[in-house]
């Protein structure tokens, strides 16, 4: 795990992780939404 990667640039790393978390949250919301819609219907 010694590859030079974006992890070497902390600011970029934080931006990447934040953006990834938002996208992950979108996926979770879509997953839950179907159950909510079915529950309402």
């Amino acid at each position: 795990m010694n590859d030079p990667t974006p992890q070497d640039a902390p600011a970029l790393r934080r931006r990447n992780v934040r953006f990834a978390a938002v996208l992950g949250l979108v996926a979770v919301v879509v997953y839950i939404a179907f159950f909510v819609i079915k529950g309402m219907g």
Binding site: T5, A20, G24
Partner: protein, 526 residues
Amino acid sequence: MAHHEHTADAAHHDEKPHGITRWLTTTNHKDIGTMYLLFSLAMFLIGGLFAMVIRAELFQPGLQFVDPGFFNQMTTMHALLMVFGAVMPATVGLANWMIPMQIGAPDMALPRMNLFSFWLLFFAFMLLLSTLFLPGGAPASGWTLYPPLVLQTGNAFPVAVFAIHLMGASSIMGAINVIVTIMNMRAPGMTLLKMPLFSWSWLITAYLLILVMPVLAGGVTMLLTDHFFATSFFNPAGGGDPVLFQHVFWFFGHPEVYIMILPAFGIVSEILQTFSRKPIFGYEAMVYAIASIAFLSFIVWAHHMFTVGMPLAGQMFFTLSTMLIAIPTGVKVFNWTATMWRGSLTFEPPMLFAIAFLFLFTIGGFSGLMLAIAPADFQYQDTYFVVAHFHYVLVPGAVFAIMAAVYYWLPKWTGHMYDMKLAKFHFWMSTIFVNVLFFPQHFLGLAGMPRRIPDYATQFADWNMVSSIGGFGFGLSQLLFVYIIFKTVHSGEKATAAVWDQPTGLEWTVPSPAPYHTFDTAPEVK
């Protein structure tokens, strides 16, 4: 696109770990790309073997080799392996290898998550394949997993559902990685509208993945709770509706088709411009066409289920919205043709596969338009016409584009040129046999032969025999593909950095094979 002079010391940049731990712990995008591609090749061969079982059984009417239950397991596993194990991971492998190099990034944005995505996928498929050895065998309901049929699956049911969740999670993480890489890590000057079309196609594909994979996960979770926790999402006895599953599945399933084909569009765009020695005709129109196709893919899902008894307004909406897709797709086909128009064409293997894609994918597109017409679809539904349609889209469509990509970038990956004559022979064998395999299936479908059956009426015997001969020929031809790839890894004429005649893109500015680390210092794109 501006070119960047790669001045870094290649020897220093080629330091890499050795041995098995390299492959288990690597976070290098090229290593992970290679693992995805090899995994995809293995699944392509196993899924292909299942297809050989299907075609052997259908060679003649009557039951020859397998019992009907096992036949259904083969059709289901063939589809699951080819869609989720072969085509999707192949495009993810290409994305891993090429996107950082095309946009001038040192690696993917989240390298550890990248490795985790791969091993999750690997584990998912080991689980799925293990169901073949469980009592009751593998899932046999078709890849669409419709209830109530799928609920009759034996011990394999929860294992398959778990495997689908894992592969969904893997795909979502892979998609997140692609989006974050492209949005946050492009080299200075690499604006979005300067990006190569392969990277563009993957950016849009990744958004599709994030929006639809959770829908599939939701659907199969509902199946699981119906089966084990007495819920009634799809059980009419408890107030549920099995048709709801079809809506949920196809809301995922139609964009899934584009998840497989959009990266293929990107690949073909790159190859046609290189071997026509002209920039792609209508670059921005190509980007907008991909985006339009992706948007439209969300509003056409019910064309897969016209026969469930939907209202006339629904039938009209889904017919018309499906036909709308022909417009951006037509733009793409026009622009590809215009790119070749008056170009200095040469016909190396990647170009041959790209041109075959253009013709044969379009055949699949046209039969798709026939299927989009609701009243006509009542005739075609569940026949071999549908099988012919989606195989034209997926085999000489997506799979040919992946093979084109391998022949295009293999010298960049290995540093060796492959045997051109052998690769051209592979192309001609594949192209001839793929048509012998799938074209007669149009006739069978129009004559009324249902899909997913191990036996059939004798009137269908002749074309089934022809189709099976095509299948065996196509299957054998792919062994040649495997041989060419592994031979190129070890030997062959040394490839130059550019490999082809003045290709455009940052990947061609680095030596061949591409150094283990590229663009530690971001290139300047003018």
